[in-house]
Amino acid sequence: MLGNGIILECRDLRKTYGDRVAVNGVSFSIRRGETYGLLGPNGAGKTTTISMICGLLERDGGTVVVDGKPMSPSAVDAKAVIGYVPQDLAIYPDLSARENLRFFGQLYGLSGKTLSARVDEVLEVIGLADRANDRADSFSGGMKRRLNIGIGMLHSPRLLVLDEPTVGVDPQSRNAILDTVDTLGGQGIAVLYTTQYMEEAERLCDRVGIIDEGRLKAEGTRRELVALVGQRDRIALSAQGDLEATARAVSALDGVEQVNRHEGGLDLFVKDARRMLPQLLSTVANAGASVSAVEVVEPNLEAVFLHLTGKALRD
């Protein structure tokens, strides 16, 4: 396990809440120094998967091995390897940034000069050095988020697990967070990163797993995933009118491979968007729909998600 450079290996993870299956047989692994993204919409099972990986949640099935150590809620050794950044803020509002960092650092076994030095370093990285002694409840949302991340990376973990760390963050903080994760990835730390944002996954991740309804639908590098869609372009049509009839008419056209209807219009996968467009628009008009916008999109992870699940990542 150690020899092949794998830091995290999950196999066939399962978790059920009542009769709702939250995670349904998820398997993947992460190598040292690799940044792995879990891309999926609300309720896909990202947080549940991560909770099992970090030993917060008892699994209904499957195995998790971290740095060669089996993970479970009582596996202290395995937990020491991971730096965990929860999706919801997990900081003490009545303690200062420094006190928050010191407290969790001590729980991970840091002390004395090492602890102080690490705390100062992290404060610098998350851009809170000048607010280190202010209480966390005096921070802006973005600053709290950055502190939340800082706590996770404090003990220099070999695997950093971040659960949607940019949710509800202003663009400036978001950029800072992405830069930080990017840098850490470059330093040889393995990162598991969940997100609903295709751009974040594309920018940060060496490999991406696409998760929906508790299942891993596909997995690979960006290039590998895009290849799943084939050499096809995506056309996003915003249209009103009889969309059902329109979808039927459009599907019949030569070169149209897939049509997904949603409230505001249609999403199509076609062979060659540029050549198809005039014929497509007249077919739509004949079917009784009026087009308000057309967008031609080159293949990306969003398109992959749509292709795999028939729905958009976010509404």
Binding site: L56, P73, K79, Y84, P86, A90, Y92, F103, Y108
Partner: protein, 391 residues
């Protein structure tokens, strides 16, 4: 263990910062002690006990007591004295509640004192006026002590005539000499603390439940804040988390009890008695408060519910147990009922200590209070085990 201490100190820092420790642990109980104490007339002199006095003896010695000792106190405005027609008359007045206490100097008192025989002064208390009775008792007590001092001095002088060369033997004689005058108290139950100490003990024990609660509830707070997930992800066992929280609660409780014992002693001149006994009862009290509060916390569905239920439990147990009024002075059934509450046992124990008892006298109370804590805390731990601390 180190991690448990780290958690305990973090909690201590938080509780000091939100001042809950200061408010519930020290200011509220101390403030209420001061207020209740002055309402009950302990210190400001607005309460003046009436005593019915009957001197059956009519000797030199008894007249000294009635005229000089009591007379002086009347002049200084500490007590009112009503002469009674007979011993029965005096007792009737006390029992009807017309006076706080009856003081009866029986026939033969003076002669007994003069001949070095045991003699007694009777004090019959009015059950509704423990303070008046206490005052009467302490007056008589002082007098008895004084007479004994005189007797002892006389005995020493008398003895020294023949055996001046043997001071050691003389001292021994003095010690062996029977105490010639004794105080005869007509009350059946004698567990009552003096008012100041009683009020201080009642408030300390009552607020202990709120002080300790801040510690116990912090686990729920961590869950709400999301920090519990982080604690669970850290390389420490969930037992360590619970131990850390418990240490913190225990520390808050002891800190508060110690502060109140010291503050009431210094500010109010309360007399708690044997320090080891007080420490033993305090520790038991903290454990009981922790157990009961933990049980409430583990039964409650939400944090708000836990706070609400635990407040109610604290008030009910405190009232039943006598935190607000001395139940042992009320009807007998109230005194009995008070023992279904740890407060009842605690106040009884503190009463025994203040009345001069030692650790040995409060072993029963300590064990009873510990039992409350161990049983309720045990159930809470089992519930926590079966459900996990995550939810």
């Amino acid at each position: 263990m180190r991690a448990a201490l780290v958690i305990a100190f973090k909690d201590l820092r938080q509780r000091l910062r939100d001042r809950s420790l200061l408010i519930f642990g020290i200011l509220a109980p101390l403030g209420l002690t001061l207020i209740l104490n002055s309402v009950l007339g302990g210190t400001d002199g607005s309460f003046m006990p009436k005593l019915a006095v009957f001197d059956e003896d009519q000797s030199e010695v008894s007249r000294t007591f009635v005229e000089d000792v009591l007379g002086q106190l009347v002049t200084e405005g500490y007590v009112e004295v009503t002469p009674a027609a007979s011993a029965e008359d005096a007792e009737n007045l006390a029992e009807k509640g017309d006076v706080s206490a009856a003081v009866i100097v029986p026939a033969g008192f003076g002669q007994a004192v003069n001949s070095g025989q045991p003699a007694e002064v009777r004090v019959v208390g009015n059950p509704d006026s423990p303070i008046g009775r206490d005052i009467a008792r302490s007056i008589v007590d002082d007098y008895v002590r004084e007479v004994n001092g005189v007797r002892l001095a006389v005995a020493l002088v008398a003895g020294s005539g023949g055996e001046a060369s043997d001071p050691a033997g003389l001292a021994q004689k003095a010690v062996q000499m029977p105490s010639p005058v004794t105080l005869n108290l007509a009350e059946s139950e004698d567990r009552q603390l003096d008012t100041k100490t009683y009020v201080a003990a009642g408030m300390a024990v009552f607020f202990l439940f709120f002080t300790v609660r801040a510690g116990v509830m912090s686990l729920l707070e961590e869950r709400r804040q999301g920090t519990l997930a982080r604690l669970l992800a850290a390389p420490i066992s969930s037992t360590t988390i619970v131990v850390g929280k418990s240490l913190a609660s225990f520390g808050f409780g002891l800190l508060s009890m110690a502060a109140l014992v010291i503050a009431s002693t210094v500010l109010l001149d309360a007399h708690w008695g044997d320090p080891i006994g007080v420490a033993a009862l305090s520790i038991a009290a903290v454990i009981a408060a922790m157990g009961i509060t933990s049980l409430v916390a583990s039964v409650a569905k939400t944090e708000e519910q836990a706070v609400g239920i635990s407040s109610t439990v604290a008030v009910v147990l405190g009232t039943l147990g006598g935190s607000f009024f001395p139940v042992s002075q009320g009807p007998a059934f109230l005194a009995k009922i008070s023992l279904i509450s740890p407060h009842g046992w605690l106040l009884r124990g503190f009463g025994d200590l203040a009345g001069g008892g030692g650790v040995g006298d409060v072993v029963g109370a300590v064990l009873a209070v510990l039992a409350f804590g161990v049983v309720t805390g045990g159930i809470a731990v089992l519930m926590l085990r079966s459900r996990g601390i995550a939810r």
